[in-house]
């Protein structure tokens, strides 16, 4: 069975987000005064094969811990859906 996992990786709160800061300033200069905060993170889309959604999530979690996420400064969230062939 095929699954699509979306992993959203963001900086932990308290960790300086240099990209977010720069984007925030830039958007303000462009006139977006309504903006109060910007944080920038990364998103990873995985297409993977696993017998069950639980197993797929477990795999995705493993990949986060092993490579995709720097647990020191980042946290993550996984969303899963079935992928049709």
């Amino acid at each position: 069975m095929r699954h699509r996992a979306e992993i959203v990786v963001t900086l932990k709160s308290g960790v300086l987000d240099i990209q977010g800061k720069a984007v925030f300033q830039s958007l303000q200069q462009l006139g977006y005064g309504e903006l109060e905060d910007v944080r920038v993170g990364k998103v990873v889309h995985l297409l993977l094969d696993a017998p069950t959604p639980e197993k797929a999530r477990e795999l995705a979690r493993g990949m986060c811990e092993d490579l995709l996420v720097n647990g020191l400064i980042e946290e993550y969230r996984i969303s899963l859906e079935a992928a049709e062939r």
Binding site: A22, V23, S26, Q29, V40
Partner: protein, 233 residues
Amino acid sequence: MNVSVVVFPGSNCDQDAVRALASFSGRPVAQVWHGDPALPAATDLVILPGGFSYGDYLRTGAMAARSPIMEAVRRHAYEGGLVLGICNGFQILTEARLLPGTLLPNKTLTFVCKPCTLRVERTDTPFTGAFRPNQVVQFPIAHHEGLFYLPEKELDELEQRGQVVFRYASPEGSVAPEASPNGSLRNIAGIVNERGNVLGLMPHPERASDPVLGERDGLLVWQSVAGWIEGGH
């Protein structure tokens, strides 16, 4: 020739460009702050220098392309004035849509700084008149995002219109993919707009303009521009 170099917060090759041009032309080079609304009157050539404007956070060149001075640069280009974007300057020009395409991360996914050989594809632009046809020259590169990208069809059109001005090449002039240090499509290192007055170039001619530093092929670019201006264009 009157040269203006735009300084963005995070530019770091601005002074190098100023020095190279001042020493070539023997005339002062204007420095224009990114927040300024206008270019100095009588500017012939605007240089958008290399560096990491706004930290290059989000996307390289994205924020600089939206800074106030870029309106003036756009107008300058529209009126036929010369614009040269070097490295980050090239990235800014694509983000500002003054040039087509975009620059993706190098195929190595690393920053690459080294001398590079390039082949000149056209000698009839304002920036290349002093080169010999197909001349192979050496300029250093120093970038993390230098892989020129356009969808295939648009790339063909770009080629047909002759907008590709420099390609990464072997010292013998072959433009096989291996000669490209960053995986750039069709080895593209520099392109002009359709009108030919805006050049984006990943390699650094200003780093190849001083014999003490070893390379001097960059002088050909300045000679070309000077010749073009003196020629009354």
